[in-house]
Symmetry: C3
Subunit: 185 residues, 3 copies
Protein backbone atom coordinates (compact mmCIF):
# COMPACT_ATOMS: atom_id res chain seq x y z
CA UNK A 1 0.00 0.00 0.00
CA UNK A 2 2.75 2.38 0.92
CA UNK A 3 4.58 1.43 -2.26
CA UNK A 4 1.60 2.17 -4.47
CA UNK A 5 1.11 5.48 -2.71
CA UNK A 6 4.76 6.28 -3.21
CA UNK A 7 4.56 5.39 -6.86
CA UNK A 8 1.45 7.46 -7.37
CA UNK A 9 2.97 10.47 -5.65
CA UNK A 10 6.20 10.09 -7.58
CA UNK A 11 4.29 9.72 -10.84
CA UNK A 12 2.32 12.88 -10.09
CA UNK A 13 5.53 14.73 -9.34
CA UNK A 14 7.08 13.56 -12.59
CA UNK A 15 4.12 14.65 -14.69
CA UNK A 16 4.01 17.98 -12.93
CA UNK A 17 7.64 18.68 -13.71
CA UNK A 18 7.03 17.74 -17.32
CA UNK A 19 4.16 20.24 -17.49
CA UNK A 20 6.25 22.93 -15.81
CA UNK A 21 9.12 22.34 -18.23
CA UNK A 22 6.66 22.53 -21.11
CA UNK A 23 5.39 25.90 -19.90
CA UNK A 24 8.85 27.28 -19.38
CA UNK A 25 10.06 26.13 -22.77
CA UNK A 26 6.98 27.54 -24.49
CA UNK A 27 7.45 30.94 -22.97
CA UNK A 28 11.20 31.20 -23.09
CA UNK A 29 12.25 33.74 -25.68
CA UNK A 30 15.03 32.89 -28.05
CA UNK A 31 17.84 34.99 -26.74
CA UNK A 32 20.15 34.61 -29.69
CA UNK A 33 21.09 37.99 -31.08
CA UNK A 34 20.89 38.26 -34.87
CA UNK A 35 23.49 40.75 -36.00
CA UNK A 36 22.79 39.94 -39.64
CA UNK A 37 20.68 42.95 -40.66
CA UNK A 38 22.90 45.44 -38.81
CA UNK A 39 26.01 43.92 -40.39
CA UNK A 40 24.45 43.83 -43.86
CA UNK A 41 23.43 47.49 -43.60
CA UNK A 42 27.02 48.32 -42.61
CA UNK A 43 28.37 46.23 -45.50
CA UNK A 44 26.03 48.07 -47.85
CA UNK A 45 27.47 51.32 -46.50
CA UNK A 46 24.01 52.41 -45.53
CA UNK A 47 23.18 54.57 -42.55
CA UNK A 48 19.53 54.61 -41.52
CA UNK A 49 17.90 58.04 -41.58
CA UNK A 50 16.35 59.55 -38.47
CA UNK A 51 12.80 58.29 -37.95
CA UNK A 52 10.55 60.91 -39.52
CA UNK A 53 7.68 62.49 -37.61
CA UNK A 54 4.10 61.82 -38.73
CA UNK A 55 2.73 64.67 -40.83
CA UNK A 56 -0.72 64.44 -39.26
CA UNK A 57 -2.76 62.98 -36.41
CA UNK A 58 -1.46 59.41 -36.46
CA UNK A 59 1.51 57.33 -35.31
CA UNK A 60 4.29 55.69 -37.32
CA UNK A 61 3.41 52.16 -36.27
CA UNK A 62 1.06 50.10 -34.10
CA UNK A 63 1.87 46.69 -32.66
CA UNK A 64 -0.95 44.20 -32.14
CA UNK A 65 -0.13 40.70 -30.99
CA UNK A 66 3.09 39.95 -32.85
CA UNK A 67 2.10 41.95 -35.90
CA UNK A 68 3.53 45.39 -36.50
CA UNK A 69 1.57 47.68 -38.82
CA UNK A 70 3.69 50.47 -40.29
CA UNK A 71 2.05 53.64 -41.55
CA UNK A 72 2.35 54.67 -45.17
CA UNK A 73 5.87 56.04 -45.64
CA UNK A 74 7.53 58.25 -48.20
CA UNK A 75 11.29 58.74 -48.31
CA UNK A 76 12.73 60.38 -45.17
CA UNK A 77 14.77 62.82 -47.22
CA UNK A 78 13.22 65.10 -49.80
CA UNK A 79 13.56 63.88 -53.38
CA UNK A 80 12.28 64.66 -56.83
CA UNK A 81 8.48 64.96 -56.71
CA UNK A 82 6.02 63.84 -59.36
CA UNK A 83 4.41 60.95 -61.14
CA UNK A 84 6.46 58.01 -62.36
CA UNK A 85 6.02 57.66 -66.10
CA UNK A 86 5.74 61.37 -66.80
CA UNK A 87 7.90 63.22 -64.22
CA UNK A 88 10.18 60.39 -63.09
CA UNK A 89 11.76 57.47 -64.95
CA UNK A 90 11.44 53.87 -63.75
CA UNK A 91 15.01 54.10 -62.40
CA UNK A 92 14.23 57.27 -60.45
CA UNK A 93 11.09 55.57 -59.14
CA UNK A 94 13.14 52.54 -58.08
CA UNK A 95 15.56 54.78 -56.20
CA UNK A 96 12.66 56.57 -54.47
CA UNK A 97 11.22 53.19 -53.45
CA UNK A 98 14.60 52.18 -52.01
CA UNK A 99 14.85 55.42 -50.00
CA UNK A 100 11.30 54.83 -48.79
CA UNK A 101 12.35 51.33 -47.71
CA UNK A 102 15.27 52.79 -45.75
CA UNK A 103 12.88 55.19 -44.05
CA UNK A 104 10.67 52.22 -43.09
CA UNK A 105 13.70 50.33 -41.76
CA UNK A 106 14.41 53.35 -39.57
CA UNK A 107 10.87 53.15 -38.17
CA UNK A 108 11.13 49.37 -37.79
CA UNK A 109 14.45 49.73 -35.95
CA UNK A 110 12.72 52.05 -33.50
CA UNK A 111 9.76 49.69 -33.11
CA UNK A 112 11.99 46.75 -32.11
CA UNK A 113 14.10 48.88 -29.75
CA UNK A 114 17.10 48.42 -31.99
CA UNK A 115 17.04 44.62 -31.76
CA UNK A 116 16.84 43.34 -35.35
CA UNK A 117 16.56 39.76 -34.11
CA UNK A 118 12.95 40.55 -33.16
CA UNK A 119 12.06 40.81 -36.86
CA UNK A 120 10.68 37.39 -37.74
CA UNK A 121 9.25 38.06 -41.17
CA UNK A 122 8.41 40.91 -43.51
CA UNK A 123 4.81 39.89 -44.18
CA UNK A 124 3.24 42.31 -46.61
CA UNK A 125 4.19 45.35 -48.62
CA UNK A 126 1.70 47.64 -50.35
CA UNK A 127 3.60 49.78 -52.82
CA UNK A 128 1.53 52.69 -54.06
CA UNK A 129 3.18 54.43 -56.99
CA UNK A 130 2.19 57.96 -58.02
CA UNK A 131 1.54 57.07 -61.65
CA UNK A 132 0.65 58.73 -64.89
CA UNK A 133 -2.46 57.00 -66.30
CA UNK A 134 -0.40 55.18 -68.95
CA UNK A 135 2.39 53.94 -66.68
CA UNK A 136 2.27 50.16 -66.24
CA UNK A 137 5.61 49.27 -64.61
CA UNK A 138 4.75 49.63 -60.93
CA UNK A 139 6.43 46.29 -60.02
CA UNK A 140 9.81 47.51 -61.32
CA UNK A 141 9.46 50.62 -59.16
CA UNK A 142 8.38 48.86 -55.97
CA UNK A 143 11.32 46.44 -56.38
CA UNK A 144 13.43 49.29 -54.99
CA UNK A 145 11.86 48.53 -51.60
CA UNK A 146 11.49 44.75 -52.03
CA UNK A 147 15.12 44.25 -53.09
CA UNK A 148 16.26 46.21 -50.03
CA UNK A 149 14.20 44.07 -47.65
CA UNK A 150 15.63 40.85 -49.12
CA UNK A 151 19.18 42.25 -49.04
CA UNK A 152 18.82 43.18 -45.39
CA UNK A 153 16.76 40.28 -44.01
CA UNK A 154 17.44 37.43 -46.46
CA UNK A 155 14.67 34.79 -46.39
CA UNK A 156 12.88 36.71 -43.63
CA UNK A 157 12.67 39.65 -46.00
CA UNK A 158 10.62 37.86 -48.68
CA UNK A 159 7.13 39.28 -48.49
CA UNK A 160 3.70 39.22 -50.07
CA UNK A 161 3.19 42.36 -52.08
CA UNK A 162 0.89 44.48 -54.18
CA UNK A 163 2.19 47.21 -56.50
CA UNK A 164 -0.38 49.63 -57.88
CA UNK A 165 -0.77 53.03 -59.51
CA UNK A 166 -2.26 55.97 -57.58
CA UNK A 167 -3.85 59.12 -59.02
CA UNK A 168 -1.83 61.28 -56.63
CA UNK A 169 0.04 61.16 -53.33
CA UNK A 170 0.66 63.55 -50.41
CA UNK A 171 3.16 66.27 -51.33
CA UNK A 172 3.33 64.76 -54.82
CA UNK A 173 5.88 62.17 -53.62
CA UNK A 174 6.53 59.45 -56.25
CA UNK A 175 5.75 56.51 -53.96
CA UNK A 176 4.10 55.68 -50.62
CA UNK A 177 4.56 52.27 -49.03
CA UNK A 178 2.93 50.58 -46.06
CA UNK A 179 4.16 47.35 -44.51
CA UNK A 180 3.19 44.59 -42.08
CA UNK A 181 5.97 42.85 -40.12
CA UNK A 182 5.82 39.78 -37.88
CA UNK A 183 7.87 40.11 -34.69
CA UNK A 184 9.22 37.25 -32.62
CA UNK A 185 7.09 37.87 -29.57
Amino acid sequence: MKTSQNLLALFNTAVLFTLILYFVSCQAKTQTQDDGPAKRLRDMGVELPEMSAPVANYVKYVKTGNLLFLSGHGACEEGKPGKVGSDLTIEEGYEAARLTGLCMLSTLHHAVDGDWSRVKQIVKVLGMVNSSPDFYEQPKVVNGCSDLMVEVFGEKGKHARAAVGMASLPGNIPIEIEMIVELTE
Copy 2:
Protein backbone atom coordinates in the same frame (compact mmCIF):
# COMPACT_ATOMS: atom_id res chain seq x y z
CA MET B 1 8.64 7.92 5.14
CA LYS B 2 5.08 9.00 5.79
CA THR B 3 6.26 12.54 6.31
CA SER B 4 8.09 12.67 3.00
CA GLN B 5 5.05 11.23 1.27
CA ASN B 6 2.87 13.82 2.91
CA LEU B 7 5.22 16.56 1.87
CA LEU B 8 5.35 15.30 -1.69
CA ALA B 9 1.57 15.08 -1.96
CA LEU B 10 1.13 18.52 -0.42
CA PHE B 11 3.74 19.96 -2.74
CA ASN B 12 1.98 18.44 -5.72
CA THR B 13 -1.30 19.89 -4.56
CA ALA B 14 0.23 23.33 -4.15
CA VAL B 15 1.77 23.33 -7.62
CA LEU B 16 -1.50 22.12 -9.12
CA PHE B 17 -3.43 24.96 -7.57
CA THR B 18 -0.85 27.43 -8.84
CA LEU B 19 -1.27 26.05 -12.35
CA ILE B 20 -5.06 26.19 -12.07
CA LEU B 21 -4.96 29.77 -10.83
CA TYR B 22 -2.64 30.64 -13.72
CA PHE B 23 -5.12 29.19 -16.20
CA VAL B 24 -8.06 30.94 -14.67
CA SER B 25 -6.29 34.28 -14.53
CA CYS B 26 -5.13 33.93 -18.13
CA GLN B 27 -8.60 33.29 -19.39
CA ALA B 28 -10.53 35.67 -17.19
CA LYS B 29 -11.81 38.60 -19.20
CA THR B 30 -11.46 42.07 -17.82
CA GLN B 31 -14.95 42.95 -16.82
CA THR B 32 -14.44 46.65 -16.30
CA GLN B 33 -16.84 48.67 -18.41
CA ASP B 34 -15.31 51.63 -20.24
CA ASP B 35 -17.96 54.29 -20.66
CA GLY B 36 -15.43 56.74 -22.09
CA PRO B 37 -16.22 56.55 -25.79
CA ALA B 38 -20.00 56.58 -25.26
CA LYS B 39 -19.67 59.59 -22.94
CA ARG B 40 -17.33 61.40 -25.32
CA LEU B 41 -19.70 60.87 -28.23
CA ARG B 42 -22.51 62.31 -26.07
CA ASP B 43 -20.32 65.25 -25.05
CA MET B 44 -19.54 65.87 -28.70
CA GLY B 45 -23.30 65.93 -29.35
CA VAL B 46 -22.86 63.14 -31.85
CA GLU B 47 -25.39 60.46 -32.57
CA LEU B 48 -24.10 57.46 -34.49
CA PRO B 49 -25.86 56.79 -37.80
CA GLU B 50 -27.60 53.49 -38.48
CA MET B 51 -25.14 50.89 -39.71
CA SER B 52 -25.33 51.00 -43.50
CA ALA B 53 -25.95 47.87 -45.58
CA PRO B 54 -23.22 46.58 -47.87
CA VAL B 55 -23.76 47.67 -51.47
CA ALA B 56 -22.60 44.33 -52.84
CA ASN B 57 -21.74 40.72 -52.03
CA TYR B 58 -19.65 41.26 -48.89
CA VAL B 59 -20.05 41.96 -45.18
CA LYS B 60 -19.30 45.10 -43.19
CA TYR B 61 -16.65 43.46 -41.01
CA VAL B 62 -14.92 40.18 -40.26
CA LYS B 63 -13.36 39.25 -36.92
CA THR B 64 -10.34 36.96 -36.89
CA GLY B 65 -8.61 36.27 -33.61
CA ASN B 66 -8.81 39.61 -31.84
CA LEU B 67 -8.48 41.62 -35.02
CA LEU B 68 -11.52 43.21 -36.61
CA PHE B 69 -11.27 44.06 -40.31
CA LEU B 70 -13.77 46.71 -41.38
CA SER B 71 -14.82 46.97 -45.02
CA GLY B 72 -14.14 50.13 -46.98
CA HIS B 73 -16.70 52.71 -45.84
CA GLY B 74 -18.06 55.90 -47.28
CA ALA B 75 -20.22 58.27 -45.25
CA CYS B 76 -23.54 56.75 -44.11
CA GLU B 77 -25.48 59.79 -45.24
CA GLU B 78 -25.31 61.10 -48.77
CA GLY B 79 -23.00 64.06 -49.25
CA LYS B 80 -21.46 66.12 -52.01
CA PRO B 81 -19.86 63.78 -54.56
CA GLY B 82 -16.67 64.34 -56.51
CA LYS B 83 -12.91 64.59 -56.37
CA VAL B 84 -11.17 66.56 -53.67
CA GLY B 85 -9.04 69.26 -55.26
CA SER B 86 -11.41 69.94 -58.13
CA ASP B 87 -15.00 69.30 -56.91
CA LEU B 88 -14.46 69.55 -53.15
CA THR B 89 -12.22 71.75 -51.00
CA ILE B 90 -9.87 70.33 -48.36
CA GLU B 91 -12.38 71.40 -45.70
CA GLU B 92 -15.25 69.62 -47.45
CA GLY B 93 -13.02 66.57 -47.79
CA TYR B 94 -12.17 66.71 -44.08
CA GLU B 95 -15.87 66.83 -43.23
CA ALA B 96 -16.56 63.85 -45.52
CA ALA B 97 -13.75 61.91 -43.80
CA ARG B 98 -15.27 62.72 -40.41
CA LEU B 99 -18.71 61.51 -41.53
CA THR B 100 -17.07 58.37 -42.90
CA GLY B 101 -15.41 57.87 -39.50
CA LEU B 102 -18.80 58.17 -37.80
CA CYS B 103 -20.18 55.55 -40.16
CA MET B 104 -17.28 53.25 -39.25
CA LEU B 105 -17.93 53.86 -35.55
CA SER B 106 -21.49 52.75 -36.14
CA THR B 107 -20.23 49.51 -37.69
CA LEU B 108 -17.67 49.08 -34.91
CA HIS B 109 -20.37 49.61 -32.27
CA HIS B 110 -22.34 46.80 -33.87
CA ALA B 111 -19.29 44.54 -34.05
CA VAL B 112 -18.61 44.85 -30.30
CA ASP B 113 -22.28 44.40 -29.37
CA GLY B 114 -22.41 47.95 -28.09
CA ASP B 115 -19.61 47.42 -25.55
CA TRP B 116 -16.99 50.07 -26.32
CA SER B 117 -14.67 48.63 -23.66
CA ARG B 118 -13.92 45.79 -26.09
CA VAL B 119 -12.07 48.24 -28.34
CA LYS B 120 -8.43 47.86 -27.35
CA GLN B 121 -6.73 49.79 -30.13
CA ILE B 122 -7.46 51.38 -33.48
CA VAL B 123 -4.63 49.68 -35.38
CA LYS B 124 -4.63 50.86 -38.96
CA VAL B 125 -6.50 53.28 -41.18
CA LEU B 126 -6.26 53.34 -44.96
CA GLY B 127 -7.72 56.63 -46.16
CA MET B 128 -8.37 56.59 -49.90
CA VAL B 129 -9.21 60.06 -51.19
CA ASN B 130 -10.94 60.54 -54.55
CA SER B 131 -8.36 63.00 -55.88
CA SER B 132 -7.77 65.16 -58.87
CA PRO B 133 -4.32 64.30 -60.29
CA ASP B 134 -2.78 67.50 -58.89
CA PHE B 135 -4.22 67.27 -55.37
CA TYR B 136 -1.51 66.57 -52.80
CA GLU B 137 -3.19 67.20 -49.43
CA GLN B 138 -4.65 63.76 -48.69
CA PRO B 139 -3.32 63.80 -45.08
CA LYS B 140 -5.33 66.94 -44.26
CA VAL B 141 -8.46 65.24 -45.61
CA VAL B 142 -8.00 61.91 -43.83
CA ASN B 143 -7.43 63.81 -40.57
CA GLY B 144 -11.22 64.18 -40.48
CA CYS B 145 -11.36 60.49 -39.59
CA SER B 146 -8.14 60.32 -37.54
CA ASP B 147 -9.06 63.29 -35.35
CA LEU B 148 -12.44 61.66 -34.64
CA MET B 149 -10.85 58.37 -33.56
CA VAL B 150 -8.49 60.15 -31.18
CA GLU B 151 -11.31 62.34 -29.80
CA VAL B 152 -13.44 59.26 -29.11
CA PHE B 153 -10.85 56.70 -27.97
CA GLY B 154 -7.94 58.84 -26.70
CA GLU B 155 -4.64 56.94 -26.72
CA LYS B 156 -6.42 53.82 -27.96
CA GLY B 157 -7.50 55.82 -30.98
CA LYS B 158 -3.98 56.58 -32.23
CA HIS B 159 -3.42 54.46 -35.29
CA ALA B 160 -1.00 53.67 -38.09
CA ARG B 161 -2.24 55.21 -41.30
CA ALA B 162 -1.81 55.68 -45.00
CA ALA B 163 -3.49 58.53 -46.92
CA VAL B 164 -3.45 58.26 -50.68
CA GLY B 165 -5.12 59.59 -53.84
CA MET B 166 -7.45 57.40 -55.90
CA ALA B 167 -8.42 57.82 -59.56
CA SER B 168 -12.08 57.28 -58.68
CA LEU B 169 -14.36 55.76 -56.05
CA PRO B 170 -17.74 53.97 -56.01
CA GLY B 171 -20.61 56.40 -56.57
CA ASN B 172 -18.01 59.17 -56.92
CA ILE B 173 -17.84 59.56 -53.12
CA PRO B 174 -14.97 61.82 -52.02
CA ILE B 175 -13.35 59.31 -49.66
CA GLU B 176 -13.39 55.60 -48.79
CA ILE B 177 -11.73 54.35 -45.61
CA GLU B 178 -10.95 50.88 -44.32
CA MET B 179 -9.80 50.13 -40.79
CA ILE B 180 -8.31 47.40 -38.60
CA VAL B 181 -9.21 47.36 -34.89
CA GLU B 182 -7.80 45.25 -32.07
CA LEU B 183 -10.44 43.95 -29.67
CA THR B 184 -9.87 42.87 -26.07
CA GLU B 185 -10.65 39.20 -26.58
Copy 3:
Protein backbone atom coordinates in the same frame (compact mmCIF):
# COMPACT_ATOMS: atom_id res chain seq x y z
CA MET C 1 -3.85 9.37 7.84
CA LYS C 2 -3.18 6.86 5.12
CA THR C 3 -6.67 7.44 3.81
CA SER C 4 -6.22 11.18 3.58
CA GLN C 5 -2.90 10.66 1.83
CA ASN C 6 -4.54 8.28 -0.58
CA LEU C 7 -7.32 10.72 -1.26
CA LEU C 8 -4.91 13.57 -1.80
CA ALA C 9 -2.78 11.55 -4.19
CA LEU C 10 -5.84 10.32 -6.09
CA PHE C 11 -7.22 13.83 -6.26
CA ASN C 12 -3.92 15.09 -7.64
CA THR C 13 -3.89 12.35 -10.22
CA ALA C 14 -7.43 13.16 -11.29
CA VAL C 15 -6.70 16.86 -11.73
CA LEU C 16 -3.53 16.08 -13.63
CA PHE C 17 -5.38 13.92 -16.10
CA THR C 18 -7.96 16.64 -16.55
CA LEU C 19 -5.21 19.12 -17.34
CA ILE C 20 -3.55 16.71 -19.74
CA LEU C 21 -6.83 16.03 -21.52
CA TYR C 22 -7.38 19.78 -21.75
CA PHE C 23 -3.99 20.24 -23.38
CA VAL C 24 -4.53 17.41 -25.80
CA SER C 25 -7.98 18.62 -26.80
CA CYS C 26 -6.72 22.17 -27.26
CA GLN C 27 -3.97 21.11 -29.58
CA ALA C 28 -5.76 18.38 -31.48
CA LYS C 29 -6.42 19.50 -35.01
CA THR C 30 -9.82 18.90 -36.49
CA GLN C 31 -9.19 16.10 -38.87
CA THR C 32 -12.48 16.27 -40.68
CA GLN C 33 -11.90 16.78 -44.35
CA ASP C 34 -14.08 19.43 -46.00
CA ASP C 35 -14.64 18.41 -49.58
CA GLY C 36 -17.09 21.23 -50.12
CA PRO C 37 -14.94 23.72 -52.03
CA ALA C 38 -13.35 21.04 -54.23
CA LYS C 39 -16.80 19.62 -55.03
CA ARG C 40 -18.27 23.04 -55.70
CA LEU C 41 -15.43 23.92 -58.06
CA ARG C 42 -16.08 20.63 -59.89
CA ASP C 43 -19.82 21.34 -60.00
CA MET C 44 -19.06 24.78 -61.43
CA GLY C 45 -16.98 23.06 -64.11
CA VAL C 46 -14.01 25.12 -63.04
CA GLU C 47 -10.43 23.96 -63.19
CA LEU C 48 -7.97 26.04 -61.21
CA PRO C 49 -5.16 27.59 -63.26
CA GLU C 50 -1.52 26.83 -62.49
CA MET C 51 -0.22 29.08 -59.73
CA SER C 52 1.43 32.01 -61.50
CA ALA C 53 5.01 33.05 -60.71
CA PRO C 54 5.64 36.42 -59.06
CA VAL C 55 6.68 39.04 -61.62
CA ALA C 56 9.23 40.59 -59.27
CA ASN C 57 11.17 40.15 -56.04
CA TYR C 58 8.38 38.95 -53.77
CA VAL C 59 6.42 35.80 -52.94
CA LYS C 60 2.80 34.89 -53.67
CA TYR C 61 1.78 34.59 -50.02
CA VAL C 62 3.08 34.79 -46.48
CA LYS C 63 1.56 32.99 -43.50
CA THR C 64 1.79 34.59 -40.08
CA GLY C 65 0.02 32.94 -37.16
CA ASN C 66 -3.17 31.66 -38.74
CA LEU C 67 -3.44 34.56 -41.17
CA LEU C 68 -2.47 34.14 -44.79
CA PHE C 69 -1.62 37.30 -46.72
CA LEU C 70 -1.92 36.88 -50.49
CA SER C 71 -0.01 39.17 -52.80
CA GLY C 72 -1.87 41.38 -55.24
CA HIS C 73 -3.05 39.16 -58.10
CA GLY C 74 -4.17 39.71 -61.63
CA ALA C 75 -5.79 37.00 -63.72
CA CYS C 76 -3.52 33.99 -64.36
CA GLU C 77 -4.36 33.97 -68.05
CA GLU C 78 -3.87 37.00 -70.24
CA GLY C 79 -7.04 38.97 -70.92
CA LYS C 80 -8.15 42.24 -72.41
CA PRO C 81 -6.04 45.06 -70.93
CA GLY C 82 -7.19 48.55 -70.06
CA LYS C 83 -9.27 50.71 -67.78
CA VAL C 84 -12.79 49.73 -66.83
CA GLY C 85 -15.17 52.48 -67.91
CA SER C 86 -13.27 53.43 -71.04
CA ASP C 87 -11.57 50.26 -72.39
CA LEU C 88 -13.66 47.58 -70.66
CA THR C 89 -17.36 47.39 -69.80
CA ILE C 90 -18.59 46.57 -66.29
CA GLU C 91 -19.33 43.02 -67.48
CA GLU C 92 -15.82 42.58 -68.85
CA GLY C 93 -14.46 43.96 -65.59
CA TYR C 94 -16.61 41.50 -63.62
CA GLU C 95 -15.25 38.62 -65.68
CA ALA C 96 -11.65 39.82 -65.14
CA ALA C 97 -12.33 39.98 -61.38
CA ARG C 98 -13.68 36.41 -61.47
CA LEU C 99 -10.59 35.17 -63.33
CA THR C 100 -8.43 37.01 -60.79
CA GLY C 101 -10.36 35.25 -58.03
CA LEU C 102 -9.66 31.88 -59.67
CA CYS C 103 -5.98 32.75 -59.81
CA MET C 104 -6.07 33.57 -56.10
CA LEU C 105 -7.83 30.27 -55.38
CA SER C 106 -4.98 28.54 -57.17
CA THR C 107 -2.47 30.29 -54.89
CA LEU C 108 -4.62 29.55 -51.84
CA HIS C 109 -4.87 25.88 -52.81
CA HIS C 110 -1.08 25.77 -52.88
CA ALA C 111 -0.79 27.57 -49.54
CA VAL C 112 -3.00 25.00 -47.76
CA ASP C 113 -1.25 22.04 -49.42
CA GLY C 114 -4.44 21.19 -51.29
CA ASP C 115 -6.51 20.79 -48.12
CA TRP C 116 -9.46 23.18 -48.50
CA SER C 117 -10.67 22.32 -44.99
CA ARG C 118 -7.83 24.49 -43.67
CA VAL C 119 -9.61 27.59 -45.01
CA LYS C 120 -11.53 28.95 -42.04
CA GLN C 121 -12.60 32.33 -43.37
CA ILE C 122 -11.98 34.69 -46.25
CA VAL C 123 -11.26 37.76 -44.13
CA LYS C 124 -10.58 40.72 -46.37
CA VAL C 125 -10.52 41.55 -50.05
CA LEU C 126 -9.03 44.73 -51.50
CA GLY C 127 -10.27 45.06 -55.07
CA MET C 128 -8.29 47.65 -57.01
CA VAL C 129 -9.92 48.45 -60.33
CA ASN C 130 -7.98 50.12 -63.13
CA SER C 131 -10.50 52.91 -63.64
CA SER C 132 -11.13 55.82 -65.92
CA PRO C 133 -11.54 58.96 -63.74
CA ASP C 134 -15.31 59.00 -64.28
CA PHE C 135 -15.98 55.31 -63.59
CA TYR C 136 -17.91 54.83 -60.35
CA GLU C 137 -19.04 51.19 -60.43
CA GLN C 138 -16.05 49.45 -58.83
CA PRO C 139 -18.30 47.36 -56.51
CA LYS C 140 -20.06 45.74 -59.50
CA VAL C 141 -16.65 44.83 -60.93
CA VAL C 142 -15.14 43.44 -57.73
CA ASN C 143 -18.28 41.31 -57.27
CA GLY C 144 -16.72 39.01 -59.87
CA CYS C 145 -14.27 37.94 -57.19
CA SER C 146 -16.61 38.20 -54.19
CA ASP C 147 -19.36 36.13 -55.81
CA LEU C 148 -16.80 33.43 -56.60
CA MET C 149 -15.55 33.27 -53.00
CA VAL C 150 -19.11 32.90 -51.68
CA GLU C 151 -19.97 30.27 -54.32
CA VAL C 152 -16.92 28.23 -53.38
CA PHE C 153 -16.76 28.67 -49.60
CA GLY C 154 -20.34 29.55 -48.63
CA GLU C 155 -20.53 31.40 -45.28
CA LYS C 156 -16.76 31.08 -44.89
CA GLY C 157 -16.41 33.01 -48.13
CA LYS C 158 -18.16 36.17 -46.91
CA HIS C 159 -15.49 38.78 -46.43
CA ALA C 160 -14.86 42.39 -45.54
CA ARG C 161 -14.01 44.33 -48.66
CA ALA C 162 -12.96 47.58 -50.22
CA ALA C 163 -13.44 48.33 -53.93
CA VAL C 164 -11.62 51.34 -55.30
CA GLY C 165 -10.41 52.97 -58.52
CA MET C 166 -6.72 53.06 -59.43
CA ALA C 167 -4.97 55.43 -61.83
CA SER C 168 -3.15 52.50 -63.45
CA LEU C 169 -2.04 48.92 -62.82
CA PRO C 170 0.94 46.74 -63.80
CA GLY C 171 0.76 45.65 -67.43
CA ASN C 172 -2.44 47.69 -67.74
CA ILE C 173 -4.48 44.79 -66.29
CA PRO C 174 -8.07 45.80 -65.49
CA ILE C 175 -8.01 44.68 -61.85
CA GLU C 176 -5.57 43.69 -59.11
CA ILE C 177 -6.82 42.05 -55.91
CA GLU C 178 -5.15 41.23 -52.62
CA MET C 179 -6.70 39.03 -49.94
CA ILE C 180 -6.32 37.97 -46.31
CA VAL C 181 -7.48 34.47 -45.32
CA GLU C 182 -7.82 32.89 -41.89
CA LEU C 183 -6.60 29.29 -41.71
CA THR C 184 -7.65 26.69 -39.16
CA GLU C 185 -4.30 26.33 -37.47
